[in-house]
Amino acid sequence: MSDAETVMSGQETKIVIAGFGGQGVVVAGNIIARACVIEGRNVTGMISYGAEMRGGTANATVVISEGEIASPVVETPDMAIIMNQPSLDKFEPVIAGGGLLILNTSLVDRRPHRDDLRAVQIAASQIAHELGNVRVANIVALGAFIRKTKLLRPASVEQAIADLFASKKAALVELNIRALNEGMARLVEAS
């Protein structure tokens, strides 16, 4: 199945971004959703703050669709950006068959067990560290994600980043855009 097919297979594309609290998964989800708005597409986003309170993992979900979106709640994501090991353990079992994983290999130390999933690797935390701020690992992974899925235009994502950090320092926007580009450049197709 090609990437484009994945997008079209259902009416809706369901994405989860998962990691530790502090890894910026909510920001990543926010950027995806904003990019959709820029592209005029239907989108819903949601932070699953369900079972966890303090500590534990955090995750954000996004649903993108060309039609009306029924449920903003994602139970079987088509795609997942996995920022750490516990998130892989948690989400691997529920990803839809044929689904896609973007794995932050810096903090994920195994390959998926399921063989009906596709995976892409990116040393996101490592790369972020190289860029001078480990907190942009989320954006690095996001870069890999959009490069792989072609779900969004890089320009929209850049715009979304610029909008989101508009009130903050310009340097921050720049750093994030660099992270995005690194991510797009350095993803590794898993064998």
Partner: protein, 243 residues
């Protein structure tokens, strides 16, 4: 010197954030219960607040109460079982906002219970809104420009407030922001339990405690905030002792 986990505390890893004061206060309470040998006749009340999961950590009977109502629940427990040891463990939102009335009247009735009041100047569990004890100028998610005298009023000082009540036996404010403070805090908590064992009435220990997460500070900065900001507004010490 030996330092071991008190038996009143279960092995479970807590859900608290790194540098959160609740963990320290838990240990102190558990140590005192151990030391006084009262674990098997103690009933604790869990608040709604970050400490809601008290029962996951304490190895004794625990009842989880509605937000702000632990003093009323404790009153019910203690009146029915006067020879059991009943303590409340409450945050500043729980004790000093929604539960103000219950706190004051339980204290003034002189209910023979022990209240552990964890003052971290913010609503921890719900993500950092202004608490009654938030400092002037401290910014929170609901006082984004800092708490202001004009609209929000000054921080509520619970020990000072309760000190005027004739029904109250013992009030002390302590902190857990240095090792020394922690040792003192344990003494105060011990006294508050001993008072109850001796039937002396209502004791409350206010503990200045860290909430680095909602203060948006590192754990170390959290400790500094207690030591340099909170202690100024909330002076440590004994506010009442009729025991």
């Amino acid at each position: 010197m030996e330092f071991e986990r008190p038996t009143t505390l279960l092995e479970t890893r807590t859900h608290y954030c790194p540098g959160c004061g609740h963990g320290i206060v838990h240990r102190l309470v558990a140590e005192v219960i151990d030391e006084l040998g009262i674990r098997e006749r103690t009933i604790g009340t869990a608040p709604v607040g970050c400490a809601v999961l008290l029962y996951d950590y304490f190895n004794c009977d625990i009842i989880e109460c509605a937000h702000g109502r632990p003093p009323a629940v404790a009153t019910g427990l203690k009146r029915v079982l006067p020879d059991r040891i009943v303590f409340t463990y409450q945050g500043d939102g729980d004790l000093a906002a929604i539960g103000t009335s219950e706190t004051i009247h339980t204290a003034n009735r002189g209910e023979n219970i022990t209240a552990i009041f964890v003052n971290n100047a913010v609503y921890g569990m719900t993500g950092g809104q202004m608490a009654p004890t938030t400092l002037l100028g401290q910014s929170t998610t609901t006082s984004p420009d800092g708490r202001g005298l004009n609209h929000e009023g000054p921080p509520l000082k619970v020990c000072e407030l309760l000190a005027s009540l004739d029904g109250v036996t013992y009030l002390e404010r302590v902190a857990v922001s240095t090792a020394k403070d922690t040792i003192k805090a344990r003494k105060a908590i011990r006294k508050a339990f001993v008072n109850q064992i001796e039937g002396k009435g209502y004791s409350l220990v206010e503990v200045l405690s860290m909430c680095p997460t909602d203060w948006k500070l590192s754990p170390q900065q959290g400790v500094d905030f207690v030591n340099h900001q909170m202690k100024k507004v909330f002076p440590l010490g004994v506010y009442k002792d009729r025991s």
